[in-house]
Every structure is written in structure tokens, then in C-alpha cells.
Symmetry: C5
Subunit: 108 residues, 5 copies
């Protein structure tokens, strides 16, 4: 049962939004808001600090030319529209950085 | 018990919002904010990447003429008001694209 | 145990916000932000598509003259301030429509 | 086990935000954004409609001179900045009213 | 099982956002939105009022020169852009204060 519960129950749904995710796939949409034309819609998977996946996914607009399976910084809400090239776009998630590394110091 | 718990516990409530959903139904409202008149209010169901439904639903304004049971891209929050025709409208979810397909490459 | 878990675990906390709720009660507040004076603060309960209640509640400003126990459309976030009469008000949920009916076509 | 699970599982995390809470404590911060100087930062605990506590807490700026353990109306997001005196402040929760009473009529 | 479930199930995902967290680590990103250059991206862990960690994490921009493992006040959403130096930045979480102490008076 632990295994069954582990993933969803330890997934954190942050109310504060900015998280680390990995690029998982792409979304193809022809019939869409005209402001979305030419935008790269990627499926990203939030990850935990141990590198494991969180459940679920988010569709985010890539604004930094991130590569497949790279770890990225994803912002949500109105902030996503402040990412390069997203002004006034109807999007609420955007990739704003490629993460080289992140370092965590657990309680000493 | 697994079956009972499976659906709700594996549903992800993204803090980053932009997700894939399918159109499930319609909402009829006569007495409403005047800016909502003539707007198509659809009930959409968020889906997982394996195509299965997530629990729950969202009411979203259709801005792209999406068809019944089509998979759509839904945005939330203030971004919903930037969708075509939603300027200054009291709505916080909007369908901004019809999804032709999406591709996911799980960890190799 | 199923009964005990059923309600909360099958409640969906949409990240996309616009949902259907029923009016459950009222909030009385004398000492409040002056912009809230004269506003009707209602307690609404989000409902599932089968008409059952979700757990919890939200306090929303009524902007359409909704009646007791009516089903209403509730928006959240900055969109709530775009509802009739809510401009620049410190509120983040508003009732923007009374729902006559909603129709859901489950997977055929 | 019921007791153990009861509180967190029956807590509702509203996507629509405006809720009732009680004032639980205070936060002291000297080194902070200059716009926060002179602001009263309170720890509030969301409550259920039966008056019981929800789990967790929120830090909110008091804008109405609420008293200890009083029930208050708390708004979140950008709406918090529209509360008296919060213009352009980096805060996302604010107490906008002291609640005298609230009345709930369950399904008849 | 209690131990296993305790942390995630008692974690509160506030819809009202402003919370207390401790600084846990740093994120290094070279390829990012140009407005993020020179900004300190920290990994913070929300904490409960008893000082224990909540599960998960958030990436936040430090705007007050917070020190390692210090307790900080974190805001989310558009409010994060109102923190010192964050104007028009594509970020949705920011550290806006270092917390000297916080005091909680449980129900007497």
C-alpha cells in the first residue's frame, strides 16, 4: 500500500507556484487563439527535490529554447505573461529558465 | 480499496494551471453578468496524460469554437481574460485551443 | 471507511477555478473594508456534476441577485473584481450567474 | 485512524479563495520589504462552517483592526492589495472584515 | 502507517498563499529570461506552525538578502512582482521578509 500511496500523497501542490519541472512532451494545436501561433507548447512534469517525478503535468509555453528532458523553471499565473514574448498572451504557465543544477542542504 | 482510492488520489491539482481537458457539457444561465451574454459556457473535464479523466470539472468559456468531446487547452486566472473576446470579462477559465494531439516521451 | 473517505477524497480542487456552487448561507460583517459596505456576502458550496455537495465552502459577493439555494456560477481571483459593481474591491470570489441548468454527456 | 485522518482530509482547499478564518497569532519581521513596515502580519487559521479549525494557516495583513481570536474574512491574491492601505504592497493575503456572525441553512 | 501518512496529509495547501518557509537551497540557471539575470533563486520549504517542514518546496526570488536556513515570509502570484526589484519580472514567488519570530496562541 505504501507504494500505491507514495506518489500522489507526497506530491506537493504549491500555492506559491514557481517550481522545477522536466520537459516531457509536446502539444500540437492548430485551431487556437491567434496569439498562440508559433508558440511552443510543452508538457512538463513537476519534480521533487530528490529528482523524482510528481504526479500530473502542466502545459507550458517555452520561452527560453529548453531541450527535451531538461530541467526547467516554470512560472504560473499572470507572471507567465511577463516571460519573453508572452505579453498579453492567454497563457498561464511558462518556462523561464533552464536549470543547470540545484542544491539542497537538508537540516544539519 | 485501490480502485476506490485510485481516481481521486492520482488526480493532480496543478498550481500552474494550463492543462488539457475534454469538453463534457454545457451550462445554461439566463440571469448573469451582462458581459457574459452570448458567451458559450462549457463544462470541461481535465484529463491525465494517459487520456483518462481526472475527477471534477471546470466551467470554461469557449473562445475557439471547440467541438463536443474534443480535447482542448484550458487556461485559468487572469490569463483567461486575454483569450479572444474575453477582455474585462468576469471569467477565470477559457478554452484557448483545440488539441490535435499530444506526445509524451516517458523517461528512457 | 468508504463512507468516511468518500466526500473529501472525491472533491476536486480545480486549479482553473470557475465552478458551479449552491448558495448556502450569509456572512454578516460590520467592521470591514469600506468598499465592502452594502455588498452581499454569501456562503456558497461547490457542487459536483451529479449535484452532490463538495466539501468546504467559499464566501462570494453576489452580483446578480441570486436566490437562496440557487445554483450559481462562481469566479475567483482578479476576475471576481470584474463582476458588476466589484471594480477595485478587495474580494476574490463573486457570483456572476444563476444557473438554469447544466447538461453533461458522459463518454459514449 | 478516523480521528487521525479526519482533520486534514476534510479540509477544503478552495480554488476560489475568500474564506472565514480566526486570528491565531502574529509574525515579527524586522528585515523585510520596506513597504511592509508598519503593517500588522497576523497568522490566521481557516475554519470550517461548523466552527472547527481547518489544518494549516495563512499569514495575512490586517487592514481592519481585527482583534485576537476574532473571526475574519480573508482574501487572497491580487485582491489583497486592494484592501485599505495595501496598494502596491507585496502581500497576497489580507483581512478585509471582522465577521459578526454567519448563518448556514443546510439542505432542507 | 501514521508516520508515513503524517507529513503529506497534514500539509496544508493554502489557497491564500502568504506563508512561512525556511531557506533550503539554491537553483543555478544560466539560460533564462534576461530579466532573471542577477536574481537569487532560492529553494524554500514551507513550514508548519510547530516548526516542522511541510512536504514539497517552492522556488522563490530573494528580495531581502535572507540567510541560509532562515525563516522567511514568502508571497506568491502577482504580489511577488511587487517585491523590491521584481517589477515586471516573470516570477511568481518572492521572499519579502526574514522572520524573527512568530507567536501562536492556540484556543484557550
Amino acid at each position: 500500500m505504501n507504494l500505491f500511496f507514495h506518489s500522489p500523497l507526497t506530491t506537493y501542490h504549491s500555492p506559491l507556484k514557481m517550481i522545477i519541472a522536466r520537459i516531457l512532451g509536446t502539444v500540437v494545436s492548430t485551431q487556437k487563439d491567434e496569439r498562440l501561433h508559433g508558440k511552443k507548447l510543452l508538457i512538463v512534469k513537476p519534480i521533487n527535490l530528490d529528482g523524482s517525478d510528481q504526479s500530473g503535468y502542466v502545459v507550458a509555453v517555452d520561452t527560453v529554447g529548453a531541450g527535451f528532458h531538461e530541467k526547467v523553471l516554470v512560472v504560473g499565473g499572470s507572471s507567465a505573461r511577463l516571460a519573453e514574448g508572452n505579453k498579453d498572451m492567454p497563457v498561464d504557465s511558462a518556462i523561464v529558465g533552464v536549470i543547470d543544477s540545484f542544491e539542497v542542504n537538508e537540516k544539519e
